[in-house]
Symmetry: C2
């Protein structure tokens, strides 16, 4: 469907798409959408890069990973590129998610108002503790019982599951979410989750983030290297597997 | 101090160290420490790789980024490598952190028992809301006032700050943390934080994680690529800047 150019030689594989390039797609999309609103029909990689603090080579390299978008001498067709990026990124649809676990993390996620603005709607919250059932947790959602998971996921058209339970029950919750029909899982439990092929999974581990921070400081102190503002969003990191 | 080998040609720079290689250092360290406890004196890249599900080439490549550790024909000296990795990763010291913001995220972090096990101790919690001052939030910590930040950071030897406040006040909190003397910041607020050179910063953005998940699903559906279990910990991603 898309003309995918593998980053290194070898068979095309999603593993060949650098995660930071994926993250930069959000930036491109936002910038292009605002140019589209302003009535611009084409944009050069140079202009796009200038707006985003990237080199034009980086812009061309990133976009080439996902298709043949540029027209030599004319630049990118803005409307076409916006539509393509939205489709590639899955931003042409509404994602409906449920949160499992109504503890601190679960409640933080439910009230994270940025999700809705970005097209992710949290449609249900579940918890294994029957004492929490019916309790309201932000934006009018009430905690539901785990026994209702399958029927609610089906009825509400929920396609993403967010795991915010302790590590001990995380795999069991993942199995229940997959059985209920979600397409992807965002996992906040500090353990590796196994899912069958075809189910997407992204894990968030706060300890890893702190370790990365400690490494930046310690490695910077070695005198050889320069620490600095380098959040996970900034570094470029093509896959080489 | 360490013999750092830049990943690509060019000047040595922390930007040249692939983040997943940094993440894998944790795995190496854990495996090596358990081999050290078992009395092993040397280990080959092959044996190390086998234990961790990595190729021996990957192991050698990762470790070569941080120094000359291997001895051809003999493999790695376990005790020496453990000590070096601990120093490189900043795991040879205790990190003391404070959390700013006693909302859902802040409270989740304070009760995240994995931090302490991994050498990160949360020593204080602050909140701008005077109504929260003195309230207990997990493991015996009481919320302190923002006006106490500088003196507590100094008195408690706190070297890391964790920002868990809304985006509106995040930069101001970062400035206060840097002024108080922290070396690094873990930022949970959904905005970019500016810090002066020499201060390390790592950001965690839940929306980015959901976007990555949506991309995996949408891109997988294009038929060309195969989604699957590919959390941020797994992919290999050398920097190419």
């Amino acid at each position: 469907m898309h003309g995918v150019t593998p980053y290194h030689g070898g068979v095309p594989s999603r593993r060949n798409i650098p995660k930071p390039a994926v993250r930069r797609l959000s930036l491109y999309l936002r910038e292009l959408a605002s140019r589209q609103e302003a009535g611009e029909e084409t944009v050069s990689s140079k202009a796009l890069g200038r707006s985003l603090g990237l080199t034009d080579a980086q812009v061309r390299k990133d976009l080439a990973l996902f298709g043949q978008f540029g027209h030599p001498g004319r630049g990118y067709a803005v409307a076409e590129l916006v539509a393509s990026l939205r489709r590639i990124m899955g931003r042409d649809r509404l994602w409906r998610a449920c949160v499992v676990g109504a503890g601190n993390i679960g409640r933080a996620l439910v009230s994270y108002d940025r999700f809705r603005r970005e097209g992710f709607q949290i449609a249900a919250v579940f918890d294994a503790d029957p004492a929490l059932a019916g309790r309201e947790v932000g934006s009018g959602l009430r905690v539901q019982r785990m026994s209702e998971l399958a029927s609610v996921v089906a009825a509400e058209g929920i396609n993403l599951g967010i795991i915010a339970v302790p590590r001990e029950t995380a795999q069991q919750v993942a199995d229940a979410l997959v059985a209920a029909g979600v397409q992807g899982i965002l996992n906040f439990a500090p353990r590796r989750i196994e899912v069958r092929e075809g189910i997407a999974i992204v894990s968030v581990d706060f300890t890893v983030s702190l370790e990365l921070l400690a490494f930046q400081i310690a490695f910077g102190e070695s005198g050889v290297l320069d620490p600095g503002n380098d959040g996970p969003e900034d570094a470029d990191s093509p896959s080489d597997e």
